[in-house]
């Protein structure tokens, strides 16, 4: 062993707090873009250069629907998101139960195939879905409902995987104990199985909504003349995004944070009430 090298105080501090430093860097990496979005939502651009902060204003927040076509696209995205989340969550949960609880011919094949939409490139899924719609004579009907069908398709795998993991991690004895304690199969499901799997279902639903709301590639290929929010942003990006897009982005971010915080606070309060 050689004698310890003399080093600067700062160098020593960084070495001793390496985990903290790295953690802060990762957080910065993640949050700086979001911070820019929040900042830009208060921007009053002086020129066509919408990417420079010019002057502070609340106008963007006061008139979020200054461009009505943006709010139309937003409303459509929310509708598609909610509807496809609902359908994908219900179907995916049922499929997960079947895959975990029932033995049927082709179960292991189904378990594998369910991963495919997650693994396949979106552009492949989108274009093959378009080919299917056109081949089956739906080329004239491309729009809200074809987007909905596409979103249900790719959300489904995520729901199945999330709910299946939750179900597989559940002790079988819990349901047996419920039946042993006079619960009928229906009561066993609603009193024991469902409450225990619910966090998985809820997580899957939130994931579905964000995937659906966010999707551009598959949507763009199957939308016909319909415009969703991501498509709108892409379209206007050529000629300068209106600052209201940043307002929507900030609101979406705050809503997600609120959901996480409410869930966490609820959890802690429930635990605290019992100790």
């Amino acid at each position: 062993m050689s004698a310890p090298r003399p080093s600067s105080a700062a160098g020593r501090w960084v070495r001793e707090h390496l985990v903290l430093v790295l953690g802060l860097l990762v957080l910065a990496y993640t949050f700086v873009p979001i911070a820019i979005v929040v900042l830009m939502s208060f921007n009053a651009p002086a020129s066509r250069n919408v990417y420079a902060f010019d002057a502070f204003t609340l106008d963007n927040w006061a008139n979020p629907c200054a461009d009505p076509s943006m709010c139309d696209a937003l409303a459509r995205s929310v509708q598609i998101g909610l509807l496809s989340t609902l359908v994908a969550t219900v179907l995916g949960t049922l499929a997960a139960f079947a895959l975990v609880r029932h033995d049927f011919a082709g179960r292991s094949a189904s378990n594998l195939l369910v991963f495919l939409p997650m693994a396949a490139p979106e552009i492949v899924l989108g274009s093959s879905l378009l080919a299917l719609f056109v081949a089956t004579g739906f080329s004239g009907q491309l729009g809200f409902w074809t987007i909905f069908v596409a979103h249900v398709m790719f959300c489904l795998s995520f729901v199945v995987v999330a709910v299946r993991a939750r179900l597989a991690g559940m002790d079988d004895h819990l349901e047996q104990a419920a039946m042993d304690l006079y619960a009928t199969p229906a009561q066993t499901f609603w009193r024991v199985t469902f409450p225990l799997v619910f966090p998985g279902i809820l997580g899957a639903a939130l994931l579905s909504f964000s995937l659906s709301f966010d999707d551009f590639i598959i949507t763009n290929l199957n939308a016909g003349t319909t415009t969703t929010f991501p498509m709108y942003v892409w379209g206007v990006a050529q000629r300068g995004v209106p600052m209201q897009v940043n307002v929507i982005g900030t609101v979406m971010f705050l809503v997600s944070v609120a959901i996480v915080v409410v869930g966490e606070v609820g959890n802690r309060r429930r635990l605290a009430a019992r100790t």
Partner: protein, 397 residues
Amino acid sequence: MSQVAETPTSPEHPPAAAHGDHAAYDGLRLRDVTKEFPGGFTAVRSLDLDVPRGSFFALLGPSGCGKTTTLRMVAGLETPTSGSITLAGQDITYAKPYRRPVNTVFQSYALFPHLDIFENVAFGLRRRKTKDVDAKVREMLELVELTSQARKRPAQLSGGQQQRVALARALINNPEVLLLDEPLGALDLKLRRSMQIEVKRIQVEVGRTFVHVTHDQEEAMTMADTVAVMNGGVIEQMGAPAELYENPRSTFVANFLGQSNLIEGRVLRRAADVTTVEMHGIEVSVPSPRVHTDADAGWVGIRPEKVLVGRPGEELDAPGNTIPGGVVSDVSFVGVSTQYLVRMPWGQELQVFSQNTGRTHMFTQGESVELSWRPEYAFLLDRSQDADAGAAERVGG
């Protein structure tokens, strides 16, 4: 193999006629129950079992012997391939688990993690829409000393407390039969001992039939009135713990329930009271009720603590023959007793447990000794059985 428990039942419930009339029997009765699993594994073979009402019954056996499958068939969580199960005269063979007056304490406790202790215990009452749920749950929590934990979640409780919640959750329903599936297995030794006494106390207090599945022979003997030793899907022997221990009928029971010395012998004479056996040139006698073979050859069995050890020529407190020529090959001092291994002239090592009364001589390795025992403690088993059967599966000493 068909056996019927001979345990005394509580005075209010005299044992019913042991044969025929199922409707008259008020306990739990299994008749010719077989369970085959898909894939051909037979977990339980043609099992007959009578558990008298109000008794504490233990199904004892190594893992895979079919004891848990038997329990699950009584609970309704498995359906027998053939045979019948009746409870207080009612045929429950195919009844749904939620339609039989039987509750189970699971090995993993299976407490509902999303419900607090109070709601876990109240679960069965609420499903049956019983009145006075609050008062009953409080009373039950008092019985298991968990009143202060009522609003906690299962995950916040220790293993012993969770175990008591599982017991309370099952007992509150006042089941005809309470099934316990190795409920103490996950606890450490000290806690397990105190829970054994606790569960036994509760059983006496509530006076219900308890069927306890365990692989721990000491636990079975401590807690149960009647123990059925199971092996390979059949019951090897059934009876009171002392009876099983003192008079085992097979090498499996002799080895699984405590330890035994099994010495090869040949039957010389059979009389009504005593059977004489020649054992490597020495004649020993075995009480005839303890002889469990019709053949000429057999295993003479003697428990290690019944064997007396002395210096050559020393007078031993045993009227039987003395077996000379032993050499101490191993000595372990365990405090309350000293355990010797004694190599006999025919090459076999016999185990001897000598109580440390303070008046016994401590032998050292290599010392020459003689062994003897009181003939009434010996038993004779079938020579065709494996002398080591059950020894490897035994838990602890």
